[in-house]
């Protein structure tokens, strides 16, 4: 049975790297079109393996993966792969071209697009990701954040409906991480993409629609990101740490100091001052 409106349907998927190393067992999951799911869990829980299965880079040992209604099989992987873009952790491993422009064009050449359309797409996606001024540069001349932008532009230029981010922000410094997060938010807003991000980053998880927790080869929880960060025990079991503001509010709560629920960032000092002045 397959369902319409789903980007992915996983039916009792299992996978092992050889007989001694089972990684995933009996994973059942539905990912609707246009949604943004965070895949979280401790190191070694199988997040990246699941991403590779979804992207057709690995084949399941048991169960089935259905992509937009088509079962992902040896015979169909060629036809399904172009619909899925993957952005990895280290943008250096993703560069092929001698200039940023060639790099974005590379994937399009593989699709045998007409020259005019290729040039148009390179231009359009470079503008979208604010890297037009970098088109003639060599990838080695770019900062980490710029490289990751180029990698994202190269993937989006191929116009996939599904984009998987495998810890794409983990090598970036805080500033570049914030910029990448804004790109992800824009993509979500556009409604054109189904997004899956594998991440430990609290802000990235909070920005997504849904958090799926992977542990011991199976799905341990499937919930709203705000519920995940509200559940100290669950956070602990998937080895996450809540954002600083939430942890501070929790500590204050323990000592009987209640901050307004929606207060964050700069408002914390103001809220505390108000409590103090009221005394």
């Amino acid at each position: 049975m397959t369902e319409t409106g789903l980007a992915f349907e996983l039916q009792q998927v299992s996978f092992a790297y050889g007989p001694e190393q089972p990684v995933l067992s009996d994973v059942t999951l539905r990912i609707p079109h246009g949604s943004w799911m965070s895949l979280v869990g401790p190191n070694g829980c199988g997040k990246s393996t699941l991403a590779k299965l979804l992207g057709g880079l690995l084949a399941v040992n048991g169960g089935a993966i259905i992509v937009e209604g088509t079962p992902l099989l040896k015979e169909t992987v060629q036809q399904i792969r172009p619909r899925i873009g993957m952005v990895f952790q280290n943008p250096d491993n993703q560069f092929i071209g001698a200039t940023v422009e060639e790099d974005i064009a590379f994937g399009l050449e593989g699709r045998c697009l007409p020259r005019e359309e290729m040039a148009e797409r390179v231009k359009r996606y470079a503008e979208k990701l604010e890297i037009s001024h970098l088109l003639s540069k060599h990838p080695a001349e770019l900062s980490g954040g710029q490289k990751q932008r180029v990698a994202v532009a190269a993937i989006l230029a191929m116009e996939p409906g599904i984009v998987i981010f495998d810890e794409s922000s983990s090598m970036l410094d805080e500033k570049a991480r914030g910029e990448l997060l804004n790109i992800l938010r824009d993509m979500k807003q556009s409604g054109h993409y189904t997004m899956i991000s594998i991440t430990h980053d609290a802000e990235e998880i909070m920005a997504s629609d849904r958090a799926v927790v992977l542990r011991d080869g199976g799905i341990a929880a499937d919930l709203k990101p705000s519920d995940l960060f509200g559940d100290a025990e669950l956070l602990d079991s998937c080895r996450l740490i809540a954002p600083y503001g939430i942890r501070l509010a929790r500590e204050l709560e323990k000592q009987g100091v209640h901050l307004p629920a929606e207060c964050g960032g700069e408002e914390v000092a103001d809220a505390l001052w108000q409590l103090y002045s009221r005394k």
């Binding site: 190191n43 805080e174 080895r239 600083y244 500590e251 000592q255 960032g265 700069e266 000092a269 103090y276």
Partner: protein, 297 residues
């Protein structure tokens, strides 16, 4: 002093037209047994700085002294093999550091290479693995079949197995889950406090190292723009953010905002939720230390 830089410069392609200077006139001192952290944006020279610690890079100007070894542009090279036994470097990408077909062989490689017997090397391997939170079941596994985070832990263990005096790590926590990151920071701090190791960490996640670090260095465009205690870093964070694009973590900005509101700028900063909550509660209970109290009694 564990490490002294005297007006150190380093240029990639020194003699070429494309000469690109990565360090310029950097002077610094790190005492033996200190926990130091280096921050700065991408391309600020952090990694280049680190690679001078065990002679991977040699200064093109000035002088580097690490333990008793002196590295400079001209003159005789010190025995690099001995230097590298005493200074362990963990690189940014763990997959580039592993090469054997089992974790155990990878962990034993360093100790064996530096003349240790097989039995002792194996023992070291197992101990080092335990330090990073992995059990012996990982020993026979192929390091390339591990997850990114596990690979990173093995790469760190392979350096710890050599029992170096100085441990220098380049972004060791990227790719680790947040709790593993906190555990690694704690482990490095234990090695420093209990075994007297000198630890230097390049990081762009300042928050997780803040509770342990004695001295912070901030780099910008190949120069050192700041070196000081955590309290000094907190006080200068606004300037460093504006001038160097330093990403200041929430624990510092929140403290600075609370401190400004309540006039606590000259106190030791409270940089964990626990410490800040405790301080705030004391304030609200009406012991505002140095502030005027209202009313009588």
């Amino acid at each position: 002093m564990a490490i002294v830089f005297e007006k150190v410069s380093f240029a990639y392609d020194e003699r070429s037209l494309w000469r690109h200077s990565a360090l310029e006139d950097v002077s610094l001192e790190l005492e033996t047994g200190v926990f130091a952290a280096v921050a700065g944006t991408t391309g600020s020279g952090k990694s280049t700085l680190l690679q001078h610690f065990n002679g991977i890079l040699k200064p093109t100007g000035g002088k580097v002294r690490v333990l008793d070894f002196i590295l400079q542009a001209e003159g005789k090279q010190p025995p690099l093999r001995e230097l590298r036994r005493r200074v362990g470097l963990v690189f940014q990408f763990p997959e580039q550091q592993l090469f054997e077909d089992t974790v155990e062989k990878d962990l034993c490689f360093g100790p064996l290479n530096f003349g240790m017997g097989l039995e002792e090397a194996r023992e070291r391997a197992s101990q080092a693995l335990a330090l990073v939170g992995l059990d012996d079941s990982f020993l026979p596994r192929n390091p390339f079949h591990l997850s990114g985070g596990q690979m990173r832990k093995v790469a760190i263990a392979s350096v710890l197995a050599m029992d170096p005096d100085i441990i220098a790590l380049d972004e060791p926590t990227a790719t680790l889950d947040p709790q593993s990151r906190a555990e690694l920071a704690g482990l490095l701090s234990r090695l420093q406090r209990e075994q007297g190791k000198t630890v230097i960490v390049v990081t762009h996640r300042m928050e997780e190292m803040l509770p342990y670090v004695d001295t912070w260095i901030v780099m910008k465009g190949g120069t050192k723009v700041f070196q000081g205690s955590p309290a000094e870093l907190v006080r200068e964070s606004g300037r460093l953010e504006r001038e160097c694009g330093l990403a200041v973590p929430a624990c510092i900005t929140t403290w600075n905002q609370v401190a400004a509101r309540f006039g606590l700028e000259h106190e030791e900063p409270c940089l964990t939720p626990e410490k800040l909550a405790e301080r705030v509660v004391r304030l609200l209970e009406g012991h505002p230390q140095g502030n005027k109290r209202e009313g009588g009694g």
